[in-house]
């Protein structure tokens, strides 16, 4: 059985744990702790090590889903988990402060995964902000990284269907990159 390892990143409260729970076919392994600083983020618990879930693409293919802690003070976990990952699902809560800057920051932090397999962005809580924000994301990313192509979706992290679209877009990208790496002639449409 072939496997993919996909990382879920994004700031605290973006919906990473929720998304992995929505997708996983096994009971998710979570490492949530009581959030002792409710003034900084008003949620009861926070991930302090990782979330882990699994989903089958088909009978011969499995995707391992790893969620990172959203807070930067746990960045040692970011590098440990990014080591084996092939692609990144970046979730950003659209109603947070400076969501565009946050997204760009995370893309830069995990740029190695873009080069390895790809990145997709899922904007959560997008119903709470003007629709133009999505365009703003695309424009800001294009300005900051002109040669980088990152799809941006609005998603409900609780929705299996929404998260599946996001995940399968990324998996397709990862497989395409792997196919091209294995056979560079696949990109030889250009004149030699």
């Amino acid at each position: 059985m072939s496997e993919h390892v996909i990382l879920f990143a994004g700031p605290m409260g973006a919906g990473k744990t929720t998304a992995i729970r929505a997708l996983s076919e096994i009971e998710v392994v979570s490492t949530e702790a009581t959030n002792s600083d409710r003034a900084s983020a008003d949620k009861a618990t926070t991930t302090v090590a990782l979330d882990y879930g699994e989903i089958s693409v088909n009978a011969a293919e499995k995707v391992r889903l790893y969620g990172i802690p959203g807070q930067r003070r746990f960045d040692f976990m970011w590098s440990i988990l990014a080591e084996r990952a092939e692609g990144l699902v970046l979730l950003v809560n659209a109603d947070a402060q400076n969501p565009v800057e946050t997204a760009i920051e995370f893309v830069k932090e995990f740029f190695a995964l873009y080069e390895r397999g790809g990145i997709v962005i899922g904007l959560t809580r997008a119903d709470l902000v003007p629709q133009t924000l999505i365009e703003e994301y695309a424009n800001a990313l294009a300005d900051e990284m002109p040669d980088v192509l990152i799809p941006v979706f609005t998603v409900d992290a609780r929705s299996n269907a929404d998260m599946n679209v996001l995940l399968m877009t990324l998996v397709a990208n990862v497989e395409l990159r792997q196919a091209v790496t294995a056979n560079p002639r696949l990109t030889s449409g250009r004149a030699r």
């Binding site: 979570s30 490492t31 702790a33 600083d37 900084s40 302090v48 090590a49 003070r73 746990f74 976990m77």
Partner: protein, 133 residues
Amino acid sequence: MTIATHLDPTYISRGELALSGLKDLAPSLGYATILTEDGFSVVSVEGNELDSNRFASMASSTQALADAVARELQLGDNEFVIVAAEQGHVVQVRVDGHPLVLAALFTDKQTIGKSLAAARRTARRLTVFLTVE
């Protein structure tokens, strides 16, 4: 507004009091911190050269991972965590009744059992101190 645990003067003063006796119990103590479950250092002793925030974050992750393993394997509650390395060992124990963990780094001059006993005793002392008004 509720004050964050790691900024709460009661937790800080009681934590200092509890940690003050740890070095006597285990002279090879290199560093110790009381941290919140989510990785904020409340109070720490010894080893100023150590990045206390990073140590607390790592201890929080380690504790959560060990708890997850115990849970997944249906072993009941995780009692303590030990990381034993060539140059020393880290012992972690939860503080009963509070969302706190005691994490302590010891040099290799002492047995792990003695370090564990000292850490457990200190955590119990803190529980008592936090119970007293």
